[in-house]
């Protein structure tokens, strides 16, 4: 699928799409208390979000007018922050995740959500 989205604007669209998809997935999983999976999805959403601005900068370097895409990116960041702020209220700050057949792990969910908000704030 990534190859279908070739080009700078293509990469921009692709990363926005994927970042949105994993954020929605993460939100749903957090609501269903599937913390480990939710945590992983949020990290994936962040990874894709981080690639949005470089794609736009590359487009600008290639001589494309990015004003409209920039507005889209900012609205995207604002909406993500809104969702993440709501999540922060319902998710415990630290979760000890104990799977049935392996050792428990500590998920610093509040820290991760905060980090995600910071990533989004950087583009505003």
């Amino acid at each position: 699928m990534r190859y279908w989205y070739f080009g700078d604007f293509g990469a921009f669209e692709y990363n926005i799409r994927e970042s949105d998809k994993y954020l929605v997935e993460s939100k749903t999983l957090f609501e269903y208390k599937q913390y480990l999976l939710a945590y992983n999805s949020l990290q994936l959403s962040d990874q894709y979000f981080l690639k949005i601005k470089p794609a736009l900068l590359k487009a600008q370097k290639d001589g494309k007018n990015i004003s409209e895409k920039n507005t889209i990116m900012e609205s995207e960041a604002q909406k993500h922050i809104e969702v993440l702020t709501d999540l922060e209220k319902i998710v415990p700050s630290t979760i000890i995740w104990s799977p049935e057949n392996s050792t428990p792990s500590t998920l610093k969910s509040a820290e991760e959500i905060n980090n995600s908000i910071k990533i989004r704030n950087k583009v505003l």
Binding site: Y5, G10, D62, N65, S67, K69
Partner: protein
Amino acid sequence: MKNSVVFLFGLVLFSLLIFSFLFVDRNFLFLNIYSDFIFLHKEITAFIFVILIVSFFAFYFYFIKNQNKISKNQLWKIILISIIISIFSYPAFLSYDIFNYALTAKVAFHYKENPYLLKPIEFIGDSWLPFTRATNKVALYGPLWVLLAGIPYLLSFGNYLMILINLKLLYALFFLGSVFFISRLTPQKREVILFALNPLIIIETFISGHNDITMIFLMLSSLYFFSQKKITIGSLLYVSSIFIKYSSLIALPVYGFIFINSLRKKKIDWPKVFTILFYCMFLVFVLSFIREEIYSWYAIWFLPFGFLSKNKKIVYFCLAFSISLLLGYVPYLLLQSYSKLEIYSKMGIIFLIPLVGYCFMYLKKKL
């Protein structure tokens, strides 16, 4: 045939060429010859258009009637005259599609973006946007067309007028190829004249610059190769036609039938195949109003098969539609808008002329 007839025919085409420049868009800065004549004198514009179309058809019918007087060389001369004159017309005379082909090629080859994903309008500030219409749509045609449109784009070296000429030169190749394959599929000169000198095909291909001839070339060449028992190349050409414009997909059962019969080395009744292909392509033409509306250049899909069918009724039907579809532009020229009134009047003209023609023939037969 007298050279004076050919000269007068060329004169009609030349008048069409001059007439097309009245339609230069205000934003089309590559040609600084904008005039508001067509807006200020809508009735005169429509009148001139009707006169030119009627004259074009008069020569067309004259050529059909006097086919025996036209030598092979003379026929090719007339065809080349038609191409050379009309290729230099202003293309957005009746439709703006050629500008979309150019912009789609620019999205793919200049901006290096996927034209199926990004709309031209997303490239803010592009100098081609002000005069191109439907820029809010992603590429509508098959991937093979996007690739082919890249050739004229790349060979223009950024000169916009060159892109338009190059695109039309590309059509000329496909058009001449289609004429060649029609002449191979039928031994008679009549079908070649019916296709190659048809005013609708010439206007929509070389003046308006629609890409339908590319799909038709691939469909006709495929039939030729099937007739020569070259099944692989025949199949490949047909599949390629689908990747130009998806409408040829409707002919899949017919091509499947040809493919199977060719494999089994069975004899194929070609006139019957052409007749069925005509019906298939006419069906897509009629159904096109479901997607948007019936456009006159869609007739290029069924006209060649209609002419090749050798069925007298179908040929008359094709001729009647060629006239009515071109005259269907009159409401647009009179109103200069795409209103409901324009669409209904256009539909009225398109279907009424063949209907009146049919009634006239029926009554003539009965009385």
